[in-house]
């Protein structure tokens, strides 16, 4: 009698089949995904309009089309915020992660504390702190630097990104076998050389998938900045709803926003999965 399983060791051996069923079931094909979105959008629009008159129904698509440029503009701003926060967070996180494997106790402990603090604080609370604690203008040597709200939002979002990247870097470094360190030592590499030339290059491929995952999460979290008064796609959608003053638009408009984020983040998720699979086989 055979039992259901996806463990390769329990399955009959066949030549050339390396992919396990579990992996195949992981993700839907892009075409399937797109059709799900379209159906969901239509369903949302349909329920919203169920009670409204036919005249209103016919106006939904043109109205959404009318506001689409503005929402897209807001969405582009979300992407800008996500890219900037990711860049700043990655750079800062790299050093924070390296500090966590430092040979000096105080450096190691301080960086560990900072990482734990920013990693476990709610993103929105960090945003609030940055918005209201950072000044609007900074004067350095008589030079006035303006710090508009969206810059503060970028800083606010890059803090948790920094802490998460630090953990990714630390985990990556610690996943490299100790023998690599020992061999480097034997070949007279300094510690700095070992890290930058031997350990980090090997970590890169292991760190890429979680890093991309983090980016996708960050992109979706950029809508949080609407809560601290920065104008982005979420605020634009809301303002459009106010200007139209029609509740039947509510669900379709937010569905449009959802679709934008899903269409942007989904390829990242797929790519991440592909990288994971690729590296998993080689390791």
């Amino acid at each position: 009698m055979t039992t259901q399983t996806d463990l390769p060791v329990l399955l009959p051996f066949t030549l050339g089949s390396s992919a396990t069923p579990r992996r195949k079931a992981c993700l839907l094909r892009p075409a399937t995904w797109c059709s799900i979105l379209v159906v969901a959008a239509l369903a949302g629009a349909a329920t919203a309009n169920a009670s409204a008159s036919a005249a209103i129904v016919s106006g939904v698509i043109p109205t959404m089309w009318k506001w689409a440029p503005l929402v897209l503009q807001g969405f582009a701003f979300n992407l800008l915020v996500s890219v900037l926060s990711m860049a700043i967070g990655t750079l800062a996180g790299l050093f924070l992660g390296l500090a966590q494997v430092s040979l000096y106790g105080p450096v190691r402990r301080t960086s560990w504390l900072a990482t734990q603090f920013f990693r476990n604080a709610p993103w929105l609370v960090l945003l609030f702190y940055c918005m209201y604690l950072l000044p609007f203008e900074i004067e350095i040597f008589g030079l006035t630097i303006l710090l508009p709200a969206w810059c503060k939002a970028v800083i606010g979002l890059s803090l948790p990104v920094m802490a998460n990247v630090a953990e990714i870097v630390r985990g990556g470094i610690q996943s490299i076998p100790l023998t690599q360190w020992e061999s480097a030592e034997a070949l007279a590499f300094s510690r700095r050389q070992t890290i930058w030339m031997i350990i980090l290059p090997q970590c890169l491929k292991r760190m890429a998938p979680p890093w991309m995952n983090l980016y996708a999460i960050l992109t979706m979290a950029t809508t949080l900045v609407s809560l601290v008064g920065v104008q982005e796609s979420m605020t634009m959608t809301r303002a459009a709803l106010v200007a139209e003053a029609r509740t039947d638009l509510f669900i379709p408009m937010y569905m449009m926003l959802l679709a934008l984020f899903a269409l942007y983040c989904y390829p990242i998720a797929r790519w991440t999965q592909r990288l994971e699979r690729k590296f998993a086989v080689r390791d």
């Binding site: 008159s53 440029p69 503005l70 609370v125 303002a239 106010v242």
Partner: protein, 275 residues
């Protein structure tokens, strides 16, 4: 939760500004002229006072007032969309020079910022409700589910007096959608917005009404930093505000934006006309 975080953050921010007095020491009047722009905090989600056009431009009655201020100063107006939760922080941080954003004048706010008198409008609170809810007086709200918007000044008063079960939303569209979805029996908000919603005659609101007597009139005033109150900048805005009433500018704008004519504006018009 969110509001308490915001409140905590604003407290901390107030404390922080005490230690950074140099940032806004310069007179706003001179600063605006030198810069060539006046930065104004406005609403972009409050029809017909300040709302968006599909082009991305903010328009509305308050925007017309801002344009008048900028025109008389001979500078350009830069509009910064603000919310009820962040406008006073933005002002005190120096990010904006003044607030023209449907802001009610009350003692608690006067502790933090300065208010220009005379006010340019007065709003009151009321509810939008389905006819079948059968509301006739404010006391009918007791223990019923009422939708509201976070940060609105009348939320606290209404909760205290009439004890409804208040469900708050981040913005007007969400709250109105919840009302239509039957999540609450009424939507508590500013009477002008409810009036203009009903006046549009859209079929989706034909079964709804504004059943109660508008209560708690609140004057809407231009907000400036406290130290600007006694400066030429504050003086200029006070004079301008009086002129708006005397010349009938506000009455004309009210009609232009389809706002139900308010006795308050008429009263002030008569008062300043004779002076």
């Amino acid at each position: 939760m969110l509001k308490s975080v915001a409140r905590l953050a604003s407290l901390v921010a107030c404390a922080a500004t005490c230690f950074a007095p140099g940032a806004i020491a310069q007179d706003t009047f001179a600063k605006v002229k030198e810069r060539g722009t006046i930065v104004v905090g406005v609403k972009n989600d409050y029809k017909p006072w300040g709302f968006l056009e599909p082009s991305g431009k903010i328009v509305g009655m308050e925007i017309d007032l801002v344009d008048d201020i900028a025109g008389r100063l001979g500078v350009k107006a830069e509009l910064v969309p603000v919310t009820s939760a962040n406008r006073m922080e933005f002002l005190n941080q120096g990010r904006i020079d003044l607030i023209v954003a449907t802001m009610g004048d009350n003692p608690a706010r006067r502790e933090v910022i300065g208010m220009i008198e005379p006010p340019y409008y007065a709003g009151g609170s009321n509810v939008l409700a389905h006819r079948s809810a059968g509301l006739t007086e404010w006391a009918d709200l007791k223990d019923r589910r009422v939708c509201a918007v976070e940060g609105a000044y009348f939320n606290r008063r209404v909760t205290k007096l009439y004890a409804p079960e208040l469900i708050t939303f981040p913005a007007v569209p969400e709250a109105m959608n919840a009302l239509r979805g039957g999540n609450c029996i009424a939507f508590l908000f500013d009477a002008t917005l409810i009036e203009s919603t009903l006046a549009e005659g859209s079929p989706e609101w034909q079964d709804f009404e504004m059943p109660l007597v508008t209560e708690d009139p609140q004057a809407w005033a231009i907000g400036i930093r406290k130290d600007d109150l006694s400066s030429p900048f504050g003086e200029f805005l006070r004079k301008l505000s009086e002129d708006w009433h005397a010349s009938g500018t506000l009455l004309a704008l009210e009609e232009k934006w389809g706002i139900k004519s308010s006795p308050f504006l008429q009263e002030l018009h008569d008062k300043y006309k004779t002076q």
